[in-house]
């Protein structure tokens, strides 16, 4: 029994890495632009399908598709921002909810028409290989996705704090007008930020195929998880996504073991509710509270 619990803790932590990764993108976009991106999970779905099709069509190893989903989703995100999202930056929040919800409807239903609702799996020759310690198993693939997730969240943090572009993004999120006066091209920063957020979300999509099958409707639940992760960790605070992601991953996994997956969603919401009640700025208290 206890081995079962420890095993599900391990699974939760591994999944938590992915949650942290794409929620960091969600948090970044919210922190900089004040846009709640309801189509966020659909970007993850597109990343997952990109990996699936490259794996099936070209026989490319899923890990080798990572650069493609990173780049592909960056371009998509950049264009999305330039063509649509920039219209709602600074508008009342409802505008961005509705716009991104419309985007969600378009992406997920086009994907449904194009690829049907059939779930698809990516199974490689090494999918079953795992590390076995003391009766516990850790699949290599999941361990590697976890390490990649951590590395990318870390890289994002470094990029934001120790690069010219990162400083421009931070400055813009703190005070748009002052940033503009200092010579920062604010519009380009917004597009870059959205592209960056989309890119790491696409990456998370490519990694998530190690955990589950892929279907066009998978996106929306991930958006909801991202909400919970960033509320736990603090809206707009990137390291918070890591904390929130791990907590949510573990909670989800343990609840699934003890109850059913459906209950784990309900319990996740209850957690979110408690957080909003007690600590709206996140566990570390560093999030944005309006």
């Amino acid at each position: 029994m206890s081995a079962l619990v420890i095993q599900s803790l391990i699974n939760g932590v591994l999944m938590g890495g992915i949650y942290a990764l794409y929620s960091a993108g969600f948090s970044l976009i919210f922190g900089v632009m004040g846009v709640v991106n309801i189509a966020h999970g659909d970007l993850l779905m597109l990343g997952a399908f990109l990996t699936y099709w490259m794996f099936v069509g070209l026989g490319l190893d899923p890990f080798l598709t990572l650069p493609f989903s990173l780049l592909g989703l960056f371009v998509l995100g950049y264009l999305m921002q330039r063509l649509a999202i920039h219209r709602v930056v600074g508008a009342p929040p409802i505008m961005s909810y509705i716009l991104t919800f419309g985007t969600h409807l378009m992406i997920s239903n086009l994907a449904l028409v194009a690829w049907t609702a059939d779930p698809r799996t990516v199974t490689t020759a090494y999918s079953g290989a795992h590390l076995a310690i003391a009766g516990l198993t850790v699949p290599w693939v999941k361990l590697i996705t976890f390490l990649i997730s951590l590395a990318v969240v870390g890289a994002l943090y470094l990029l934001l704090h120790h690069s010219q572009m990162g400083r421009a993004i931070q400055a813009t999120s703190q005070d748009r007008e002052m940033a503009r006066l200092s010579g920062i091209k604010v519009d380009r920063v917004y597009a870059l930020t959205f592209g960056l957020g989309a890119a790491i979300t696409g990456l998370a999509g490519s990694l998530v195929v190690a955990f589950r099958d892929v279907d066009p409707g998978m996106g929306l639940p991930y958006t909801i998880i991202a909400f919970c992760v960033v509320v736990l960790g603090g809206m707009g605070y990137i390291p918070g996504a890591l904390v929130g992601g791990l907590i949510l991953g573990v909670t989800g996994s343990v609840c699934t073991l003890l109850f059913t997956p459906g209950w784990s969603v309900a319990i996740t919401f209850f957690l979110l509710y408690l957080m909003l009640l007690l600590r709206p700025a996140g566990i570390m208290g560093k999030g944005i509270v309006e």
Partner: protein
Amino acid sequence: MNAGGRRSLYLGLAAAAALAALPAAGPAYYLQLLTIVFYWIGLAACWNLMCGYTGYIDFGSAAYTGIGAYVAGLLMLRLGLPLMAAAPLAGLGAGLVALAVGWPTLRLRGAYFAIATFALAEALMQVCEEWSGLTEGGVGITIPQRLAELSYYWLYLGLAGLVVGLTWWVEHHKHGYGLKAIHQDEQAAAQVGVNTHLVKLQTYVTSAFFIGILGALEGSRLGYFKPDDVFNVHITIKMVIMSLLGGMGTVLGPVIGASFLQLVEDFLGARFLNYYLVIIGAIIVGVIIFLPRGIAGSLGQRLGWRPWRRR
């Protein structure tokens, strides 16, 4: 109340009376279409009453149609209550949940309220799916009582009229000034003596109460539903878009928006079944991108919105 206000009241009452008398003349297909239009006017008006006036965006109103449908459905199924007793109780249930959700979240401005309500609807749907001992889970429930088709026509017309009338009353009453003040500047509103939290909570609970009743009636009209039918996020989004199309924070906005969208949907849904949601998505995106001031324009000027500038 000024003369203009009184005139619009009489006009509204006359329109409602004319619509109530319509079944004597109209063909059945159009009566059914109108029944659904009234249902959506009611829902959109409830959403508008809270969110259009205060600017707090409820992104999970489907939680209350779902609660309404399930509470009433289970009361009829398990306890044998008549629909006319079950529906108000369902409204109370929805109101209580709204109280529990609104109490903490309405203290927080902006995104958090939207996020919490959005997650609430999804979580409640999961609870209904999983708690099959109580709700029959994903199998769905079959409602034993159904009124005559025309009863729904009058009930929905009456409820829609009631909520629109309530909105009209709020618009011309101190309560409404409080709501609008909250929308414009919540701190300033609090300083001039508006009990902002109470006013928001009252409005939110009232709105959820009526959504719950509408959900209960619609559940019995459908006769059979699953959690996915009554907690569906598309129910919420329709209320939002209808209010937005017609003009948020206005008395007649939801009436215009709901009539327009429901008729468009009736037209498109029959012809483009596969691409229907893609088209709706494109309409939403197009409206926000190309007509942000076209829709919110006149309204925006009045409320001091500047959709193109960061606040």
